[in-house]
């Protein structure tokens, strides 16, 4: 068990290091001079030189990297080209909005999807109720295929602009969460429901379920006690991975709802060529994703008594 934790922590640390290098490299990989690109062609040479010196871009690369890493350890992610604000501050004010949205959407998706998938599996076991199977397949297949920003646009058009019952944009109170959460959760709900169905079917076909049936356990006990726990490992793994995909997908949804989160900021910073901000946000996004994956892995190690064995 502790070996597993250790190995996961090492993997996390290595990935994080690679991410830091990638984020640092980003500014240097941009073709041309990022400072000139951001300040525009009309900017005087003295201003560009001064800005370059302020950013340390005139130093040799190793020194720049050392300074960058040292900055990271003291919580310094650089300053915005445009506003001069510290990037760390920009991120700190926006991060909670993004994470909150993603967490709520994941919870909604899991709560809706697991019962839905299990129900579909029990109804369609061994090929019975082909109608239900076909309907479930096409509805979830369609729901998965539509990207979250289209859900967002459709929801805004119908509920905010058409019916006027919910706010179209911004973050003001609980009601403003409804549409963004829905837009984010529909796709993952369909995906997780499909996995939950497959996993439930797999569990229903095992010998231990046959044995539980031979014991004539009531259906509720059979499904909740013998089937459900054995479907959760795969379903939660996916749910965890969904959370990281969801955080990324929120970029588009935040854009549609003008949600004051990191996603909105990353789009702004890229289009405005405010590279320090883009660099910082990508770094933070990446770190969150790595962290989520680490937590999912560790949670599974605790949940599933056999996973530590599978590992070796």
């Amino acid at each position: 068990m502790s070996r597993l934790v250790l190995r996961r922590l090492v993997r996390f640390a290595v990935s994080l290091a690679v991410l830091v290098v990638a984020a640092f490299a980003m500014i240097h990989l941009i073709p041309g001079d990022p400072v000139r690109a951001s300040l525009g062609p009309a900017a005087p040479v003295e201003l560009i030189e001064a800005r370059r010196a302020a950013l340390g871009l005139d130093q040799p690369l190793p020194a720049q990297f050392a300074a960058y890493v040292a900055g990271l350890f003291s919580g310094d992610l650089g300053t915005s080209f445009l506003t001069g604000e510290p990037v760390a501050e920009v991120i700190a004010t926006r991060l909670p909005n993004t994470v909150g949205l993603a967490l709520i959407a994941t919870a909604v998706a899991l709560l809706a999807a697991v019962p839905l998938g299990m129900w579909a599996a029990v109804r369609t076991e061994n090929g019975r109720n082909r109608g239900t199977e076909a309907a479930f397949g096409s509805v979830t297949g369609t729901a998965v295929a539509v990207p979250e920003f289209l859900y967002a646009i459709a929801l805004v058009t119908v509920f905010a602009i058409g019916l006027g019952v919910l706010p179209p944009a911004g973050k003001e109170g609980a009601v403003s969460y409804v549409l963004p959460v829905l837009a984010l959760a529909i796709g993952p709900t369909a995906t997780i429901a499909r996995i939950a169905r497959v996993e439930t079917l797999r569990a229903l076909g095992t010998d231990y379920v046959r044995l539980a049936r031979a014991k004539r356990l009531p259906a509720a006990r059979l499904h909740l006690r013998h089937v459900l726990p054995n479907t959760l490992t795969a379903t939660l793994t996916l749910g965890g991975l969904m959370l990281s995909a969801l955080i990324a997908g929120s970029v588009l949804v935040e854009y549609v709802f003008a949600w004051p989160g990191l996603g909105m900021k990353i789009v702004e910073s890229i289009t405005q060529k405010d590279y320090p901000v883009a660099q910082g946000v990508i770094l933070v996004y990446g770190a969150i994703v790595l962290l989520v994956n680490l937590l999912v892995d560790l949670a599974l190690g605790v949940l599933d008594p056999t996973s530590s064995i599978k590992e070796s």
Partner: protein, 603 residues
């Protein structure tokens, strides 16, 4: 492949997209670029059903024209991603161990990373615009492909046939070309369909954020970007591109699903189930614990793997049900236990347990009087639950015991099957027990109630001989102590001959012979005799060749009217092919279904 409406819809949508990409620009190209200063930023009208843009250009025409560019960009991105991914995924199988591990690690790290962020990173570095977006989406698709290639190649590389080729000295390149690639090509091509849909949506997303296609070029995502800015005034202008993106995404996804399903399963034709023949129940066997008459199991299409099996077992009797794979023995056991999976239909003239009709027994009665043991002790216990809890639930559910009482009984039962330290074992998870211990625990589970019948389906097949010996001894002990009957299913005649009191031999879904176990070597049916002769045991004469039966057992669908064994039988005559011999008395406690044997003996 295109049987379901969803699959048809997917194929139609994708075909429509392709047609649109071909004919769109030549037909509507001019209208899409026609600037009309008098009609700028209009909403829906008869002339412009989806409205116009800031230069008065018709949006419907622009949506129809943008199809080609959107699809081409998606195709480019998908191909870039697939090529990069396949190369990256194939590298570990060509590289030395250390760099191979590095590549695998990198791919694993990248797969976990959200595609859109990867795409944005690449797009920033490669420069805003269509080129950057295509490269970015390609980069986002590549890790998934790499992982898939890796998994597939690893599974094929581990296959026995690749090991065999390697031992034959087949060169590495040829193994890759002849064995690995053909066996992984199909899933990779399939994944490309799905990747194409993903690329289309990803590019639409990038353009929608303003990070993809830049004016004056336009794809659906860019049109949506323009339309979204006006959504509060004229929401219909966003409708066209949104619908186009959604339909394309749905089309590719449904088609990909259908292709995947078509590749995965070759489903049997569906026909109506044949009603099982219901015969006269006759007089119940007095004193029998298990009394089965004319049991049939039928599957749709009239396939009948179990055809009119009659069986009985007395208290304390161990009845062996023996046959080769496909004889219907396990399905017979499942039918008696009420565990035949849908869409199988069980029919019988009589099915009685402990003197009562099974149909009239409650769950509680069945759950406590019928115990089952399966072949694989690794699979028979729920891996998520502790051993003690799995035993205890019988007492909780059926006997109204409190948790503490149930637990105490579970520990007692575990001790009863000679599990050392039963209290400790009860608190463990199944994977912490050895195979033999697990099989004991399963038997103990059956002893939680008061079993009248134990159905043991190949309970020792997965175990080593020394452990098998212990489990057989335990079964015998349990039978003598509880007075329960045992139906012991096995392919191993030696095991059956050693353990059982009586043996029932099955062939192609029917009982061909029934005799006392200690007289197995005097079997009368040619099949039984041939089975015994082909079984090497510790006394077989090593100087003679071993007998074997030519041909093979017919599949359930191939069984005809006559004796199913006739084609392989040395004694067969025309009569055997014409009519099925009934199971008739042939000496004390001995019954045989063979024209040759029974006619000769009566003549």
């Amino acid at each position: 492949m295109f049987r379901t409406p969803a699959a048809v819809a997917g194929a139609v949508l994708v075909a429509a997209m392709v047609v649109l990409a071909v004919i769109g620009p030549p037909i509507w190209g001019e209208a899409a670029e026609h600037i009309d200063a008098g009609a700028i930023l209009q909403g829906s009208s008869a002339a412009h059903p989806l409205g116009t843009d800031n230069l008065g250009r018709d949006l419907l025409a622009r949506v129809l024209v943008a199809g080609r560019y959107s699809l081409l960009l998606a195709l480019a991105a998908a191909l870039i991603g697939a090529t990069a991914g396949i190369v990256l995924g194939a590298l570990p199988s060509v590289l030395p161990a250390r760099p191979a591990r590095l590549v695998t690690g990198a791919v694993n790290a990248l797969v976990a990373f959200p595609g859109l962020l990867l795409a944005m990173f690449t797009a920033v570095v490669a420069g805003l615009g269509a080129r950057g977006a295509v490269l970015g989406i390609g980069a986002a698709i590549a890790p998934g492909f790499a992982r898939l290639t890796q998994t597939l190649a690893a599974s094929v590389a581990g296959a026995d046939y690749v090991s065999a080729a390697r031992m034959l000295g087949v060169p590495r390149r040829r193994i890759l070309a002849r064995h690995v690639l053909p066996n992984i090509a199909e899933p990779l091509i399939l994944h490309l369909t799905q990747a194409l849909g993903g690329a289309l949506l990803g590019l639409a997303g990038m353009s929608f954020l303003g990070l993809g296609v830049q004016p004056p070029s336009f794809d659906w995502g860019r049109l949506l970007f323009d339309g979204f800015g006006r959504i509060y005034v004229t929401p219909e202008v966003a409708l066209g591109p949104a619908l186009a993106v959604a339909l394309a995404g749905i089309g590719f996804n449904l088609l990909g699903d259908a292709l995947a399903r078509g590749a995965a399963r070759t489903s049997a034709p569906r026909t109506k189930a044949v009603a099982p023949e219901s015969a006269d129940p006759g007089e119940p066997e007095p004193g029998a614990v298990l009394d089965v008459r004319d049991l049939t199991v039928t599957f749709p299409g009239g396939v009948t793997p179990v055809r009119g099996v009659s069986l009985s077992a007395a208290p304390g009797e161990i009845v062996g049900l023996v046959g080769e794979s496909g004889s219907g023995k396990s399905l017979t056991a499942a039918a008696i236990g009420g565990l035949v999976p849908y869409p199988g239909v069980v029919g019988h003239a009589r099915l009685r347990l402990d003197g009562r009709d099974v149909a009239g027994l409650s769950r509680k009665e069945l759950g406590t009087s019928l115990a089952m043991v399966f072949q694989d002790p690794m699979a028979s216990l729920n891996p998520a639950l502790k051993v003690g809890g799995q035993l205890a639930e019988v007492a909780v559910v059926h006997q109204g015991a409190t948790r503490a009482e149930a637990r105490a009984r579970a520990v007692d039962r575990l001790g009863h099957v000679h599990l050392p330290e039963p209290g400790r074992q009860a608190r463990r998870h199944p994977h912490e027990l050895s195979g033999g211990m697990r099989q004991r625990a399963v038997i103990a589970m059956g002893l939680m109630g008061t079993p009248r019948l134990i159905i043991a389906d190949e309970p020792t097949t997965a175990l080593d001989v020394t452990v098998q010996r212990q489990i057989l001894r335990l079964l015998r002990e349990v039978t003598e102590e509880t007075g329960s009957a045992v139906l012991f299913i096995s392919h191993d005649i030696a095991v059956v001959g050693e353990l059982c009191d009586r043996v029932v031999v099955m062939y192609a879904g029917r009982v061909v012979e029934e005799l006392p176990a200690d007289r197995l070597t005097d079997g009368a049916h040619p099949y039984t005799r041939a089975l015994i002769a082909s079984l090497p045991d510790m006394d077989t004469d090593r100087s003679l060749p071993l007998a074997s039966i030519p041909g093979r057992q017919p599949a359930p669908a191939e069984v005809g009217d006559g004796c199913a064994f006739a084609p392989r039988c040395p004694l067969a005559t025309d009569a055997c092919a014409a009519g099925r011999p009934p199971l008739v008395e042939h000496g004390p406690a001995h019954r045989v279904a063979c024209w040759e044997v029974t006619c000769t003996s009566t003549a």
